[in-house]
Symmetry: C2
Subunit: 157 residues, 2 copies
Amino acid sequence: MHPLCEPLRPLLGTWRGDGDGHYPTVEPFGYVEEVSFGHVGKPFLAYSQRTKHATDGRPLHAETGYLRMPRPTRVEFVVAHPTGIVEVATGHFDGARMWLRSTLVVGTDTAKDVTTVERDFEIDASPGGDVLRYALRMAAVGVPLTHHLAAELRRQG
Amino acid sequence: MHPLCEPLRPLLGTWRGDGDGHYPTVEPFGYVEEVSFGHVGKPFLAYSQRTKHATDGRPLHAETGYLRMPRPTRVEFVVAHPTGIVEVATGHFDGARMWLRSTLVVGTDTAKDVTTVERDFEIDASPGGDVLRYALRMAAVGVPLTHHLAAELRRQG
């Protein structure tokens, strides 16, 4: 593992679990999620995420990108969304909590207008733990920064 | 397959082959590449790419994102790079050739300055074909739009 990524080791692996989505413009919904953080020995982790509807199993969201840690506790996150949006975020990671706030969210001509994304992650690696929780707030389509997603995932295998 | 993606069907699958890289700021290099286009029935293709050094096999570049076709022949491409860059591009696809030009390339504080990326793809699906060729031009670190990469890939399996 690249030395710059060593502090991110608690994130490595595939995580699965359930989440709930809310937003003023949509009906509340439940989802099943899989998140993966991997590495190839270079100074970044590869990140991917997929969700499916909790009851009918149809694919909902996905996103894919990279997490970098250019210096201790400082993280950078670049992500593409299939809705035609890209997100650049920075934040910090203390080994148990990671906080990210977008510095830029921009899309193609046909993408929905998303202006800000904030993500909080919490990793419980205590005995019997291996739980990754996150909450995501979003400002989009004229709605100010508002709670959107929360999920609790468990590391697989 | 989602009807909006149907024209993109010739891209589907995993492609492997060799490429060559040149840029005024680096030594020329050869690489081995794997590119994948997949779908889950929604109006986008998932895209991922990885290259390794042609002689010592070490991982070089990677990128990951999505390709959309909001209307016939019009394509949109959103990609994240592990170098801390995101790219939004638009262009057209006529079934055999796809041309993409970035409308925005932006990075984190620690990313290299890339200003424009142009990509030309050519798919030869004739009998004995199944070849995907691409060329990529890039403006970066003060260098104007200049040829950077070219590769020829074959569809696997």
